[in-house]
Symmetry: C2
Subunit: 231 residues, 2 copies
Amino acid sequence: MPAGQHSPIDTVVFDLDGTLVDSVYQHVVAWMGAFRDVGLQVSGSDVHRCIGMGGDRLVAQVAGEAAEWAVGDDVRRAHDSHFRDLMSQVHETRGASDLLSRLASTHRLVLASSGSQEVTEALLSTVDAAGSLTVVLSGTEVAHSKPAPDLIQAAMHAVDAERAIVVGDSVWDAQAAQACGVPTIGLLCGGIDEASLRGAGAGSVFAHPADLLAQLGRSPLSTGQPALNGS
Amino acid sequence: MPAGQHSPIDTVVFDLDGTLVDSVYQHVVAWMGAFRDVGLQVSGSDVHRCIGMGGDRLVAQVAGEAAEWAVGDDVRRAHDSHFRDLMSQVHETRGASDLLSRLASTHRLVLASSGSQEVTEALLSTVDAAGSLTVVLSGTEVAHSKPAPDLIQAAMHAVDAERAIVVGDSVWDAQAAQACGVPTIGLLCGGIDEASLRGAGAGSVFAHPADLLAQLGRSPLSTGQPALNGS
């Protein structure tokens, strides 16, 4: 291959919450309710910024190491309970099924979610084209959750990826991808702003899966270049 | 007064949701559930950006004029029901009571919330120093809700304000203030990013009420200048 050209992207590693399913706000409210259950007040916007990292990290990140030590497992259990109450509201993000269907013929598609296997499967059931995913990995299958690189590495290993790209909505997706030397396409539909996503390493940013699909020809998925859109 | 000097700020007009109380994420989830109840899928991040405008505008803004015409009132009723289920989780934003207590001796403090009177009163009961507010205005008391200027104008009129400033977390607060020729201090604790707040006209931006209180001496509240912080 001539110098300066990139080999084509063969694998797309998708995040779940905020990327393929519109579940971020339910997660935030579930965490706020869970912290309240143990007598702690946390900021909604602080929790929002932590969605997408592993739940094993979130309590300490939002409320400090002392809270994690004292009540971390209680908060996680309460979150799961609150989230179950809200899960019926969750649907796919705009264009998620169409994007998966379109990419399934040209790329290997892997899901790498920080959530538990049970919740991951339940949320994926709301995505029509979830069957297009070659492999589904949840946070419970690796030792270190996002933003550690473990989950992205496991995803790439599972399909023997040569050149992958991550599609995610959180800074933790971009950080995990960067730690593997993999580029990131950021999506705004999880409610994290473009400056934060770019600052964490997302080379290109789209509004939602439908927007990425509409601009697929000039996206890194088609060109193999890490960043082409200037928006 | 010498040319180039500003008269001091005498009145602070506070927004409620996302500014004095940490209720934005519960509102988003309540709206998502309400739209789902009538068979509509809406994006959580689209709803988030609309929190702070009047509920009379939100349905059309999120789901289009046809949805407003067909089911607008149904969605609003369902939102109120879903929100009541989540209201016990809502607490004041970081430092809200301390900020109100500190400012009460130097400024007239007015609340101007787009919400209904009943919900406004319920949410205010979670703020320790809500008694420091001279006047409380809810969205039901004016003909046109934010981002129309009516509520800010009514707030200023109610205390005979000469020079006011708005403290809010949404672009609608900043737009309503601009329409009255009043500067805005933006807060990030409602989860709206700094670029959006500044783009809508917020001359200075702080993380939360505690951050504004800590930097009060160099804020527009003390200096009378519209923008001094560069963050």
